[in-house]
């Protein structure tokens, strides 16, 4: 049930309809320059190597931004789009650090700032069974919307049928463990400024591998510390008895585990 986009850079004619449609549907200013992603530009056409490259959120299958958000403001909807709940966000901006594609943007100039990025028209359209605005308006058929598996099959078919028109790579198939947005390109992706990210590796797994071990760590270290506390405290009391500072009876009263804690600081 994961739906996404297949963006075919060989078909894109650079008309910019997708950029305008995106701004329209998300009620973003229509006339702001669209040269990079920012709080008011969730997609734009990047001119690279003679091509126009539609940039936007990749909608990872296991998104780093969602896993790092301390309040769960970012999350992946069951349909695939990674969406954002602005009522939860407290503005720590860890999502911006964590995203391997560097997508989330912040409303720096606002006094009630939000994180901004493409949500694949989840709220306005996809939830109601419609295509995202960019896919709906693209006149060149460069943006296809559908089940991710179908899109992958379609991409493979294009690579098979016209191997000369494309580099043999589906960007997003394995990047960051897979994304819902896939790209085909006639030019190597590195030349188009696509970030090189880990393949077949889901980013949240990297920190989860550490977090997972925490409870065991707490138990072991807790037991160890209590043991040491008890032992050293006992030794301290014994030493005092030997030095004649405490009688045996008094020492018994201070018996561990509280022996160390009680006797000491009165001095």
């Amino acid at each position: 049930m994961t739906r996404g986009l297949l963006i075919d850079l060989a078909r894109c004619r650079g008309c910019g309809s997708c950029v305008t449609a995106c701004r329209e549907i998300n009620r973003l200013p229509l006339d702001a320059p669209a040269e990079r992603l920012d709080a008011r530009t969730w997609t734009f056409l990047d001119h690279r190597a003679g091509l126009t490259v539609k940039r936007q959120c990749m909608h990872c299958l296991d998104p780093a931004c969602a896993s790092v958000c301390p309040v769960g403001a970012m999350h992946r909807s069951p349909d695939g789009p990674v969406v954002y709940d602005e009522t939860l966000c407290m503005g720590c901006r860890y999502c911006m650090i964590a995203c391997p594609f560097g997508v989330p943007r912040y409303e720096w100039d606002s006094r009630e700032p939000r994180v901004r990025k493409c949500i694949l028209c989840w709220e306005q359209r996809v939830r109601n069974g419609e295509k995202p605005a960019c896919a709906a308006v693209c006149p060149a058929g460069a943006i296809a919307f559908g089940e991710r598996q179908d899109l992958v099959d379609r991409a493979r078919q294009r690579l098979r049928e016209r191997p000369d028109d494309y580099v043999d790579h589906i960007y997003g198939l394995r990047e960051a463990g897979g994304t819902s947005v896939l790209y085909l390109s006639p030019v190597p992706f590195a030349a188009l400024g696509f970030p090189r990210v880990q393949e077949d590796r889901r980013y949240p797994g990297m920190t989860w591998a550490i977090l997972e071990k925490m409870p065991a760590g707490w138990t072991v270290s807790g037991a160890l510390l209590v043991g040491l506390w008890w032992l050293t405290g006992r030794r301290e009391v014994m030493a005092r008895v030997e030095r004649g500072e405490l009688s045996v009876d008094e020492a018994m009263q201070l018996a561990p585990p509280l022996a160390g804690g009680a006797g000491r600081e009165e001095e």
Partner: protein
Amino acid sequence: MMKLVRLFGRLTLWKLVLGLLLIAGAYAAAVRFTQGLGAATNLSDAYPWGLWIGFDVLVGVGVAAGGFVIAATVHVFHMERYAAIARPALLTAFLGYLMVILAVLFDLGRPTRIWHPLVFWNPRSVMFLIGWCEMLYAIVLALEFSPLLFEKLGWTRPLRAVRKLMGPLVILGVILSVTHQSSLGSLYVIAPDKLHPLWYSGMLPVLFLVSAVAAGLAMTMFESCMSSRAFGRRLEGDLLRGLARAVVVVQAVYLVLRANDLLYRGALHYAFEATPEAVLFWGEIGLGSALPMVLLASRRVRYSNSGLFFAATLTVMGFIVHRLNVAVTGMAGWTGASYFPSVLEMTVTVSLVALGVALFGLAGRWLPVFPPAREERVPAWMIRRRPAAGGPFLTRPALFGLWVMVAVGAVGVAATGGLPALGGGRDAAEVAVAAAGGEESPRPVSADGELTLPPPWLFPAGEESPGPVRFDHRDHVDAGELGCRRCHPGLFLFTRSGAPAEGEIDADRAHDGDLCAACHDGETAFNTYDDCTLCHVDSDD
């Protein structure tokens, strides 16, 4: 007036400076909270985290590590002689966390929602864990610190209760501290592509923990030296020497781990390239870790007050550089942008430190932070040249050393300013590939690149309309030159069928001057009044 004098002591230059800094901080806070982050800081989409996270949070938490290490030494391992410096260390930690919390309030986009992680959970997030740990540890610290207040107020009952609980409390504090000190490193484990390989490592949590222990101990030494001077107390020399030995061991562990890690990841060669990153790396490792370790390993340095002070300062500075490298410099290569904190950001940071110092001074005056003087253990050979009370540690060699550090720091900053060059280097590589592959080759458009325009559209006809108006994109779009922009979004919206950019579709506008008539005026295209049927299909006239 007399009361004020009693509270703060006599006015000195230092107090004046602190006061001015606090006023500047209040002004900066006013700007930050009324104008927002964009106006107050140089943070940007390329650098979402800057000085406040890099210094105030990462360094603030780190140097507060002295609190839990010393507390554990005294209360868990029962090395009771360190009790003499436990309270100042605890106070430092407490104030460190205060600074961190304030800095987080400054840094959060929506500071009033700082409580959200308590209610809205995401246990997969490292930040969530840190939030909880720091909150719980702040409570533990307050409890560990409470005996000072109770003593001052003479409340014996709660005093005894807290003392009974001290052992378990400190153990809890240690666990919480270890967790969040290391977790600050884990924060960056999720950014393997962004953080420069000299700093990125899967071992970051361990490295952060170990370096924080070293820095926390060094900070305790530093703070002892400072307060011995400020409060005219004798330096707890033998204890500081004990800490110094511990710093040597911890630094050695850190350096071995770091070297191992670089070798294992095959990233060592980055340290020998002529990049600003390499310079900062060596500054951090050489001047901030190796040099103070070597210094403190020598007995002569350990037995000299200025030596101790100097080495402790170096360690703390090295630590600061490491954290800033991770938070700011290490990211420069990936983002390709540069960041230098705004005056306001620096003001906030400096005044938060000033606030800490001021509170430390007040607490030192008014709470039993410093225990009564006790006999120092001095080896026989030292007795002849025993340092005087509150002995001079800001001697000429130490001052000279500090100036060298400042100079190195300035060079480092200058080098960071040159960092965009790095990003440029990456772009150059891309351009090279592009030139080889793309630029000259004709635009690759595949053969089945048929246009898929929306189907013809019938405007819902008004009552008096001679017939519904039919609009077909195929009459208007030329496959060679799409030109969607002539109508979208200026005249018509894409996303709501048939809706003009402004207002309703209106016959007068459609026939005269606007909408369809923007072109159908007899010049660009046929005039609306020429032939009604071209638009109004099925019309009678």
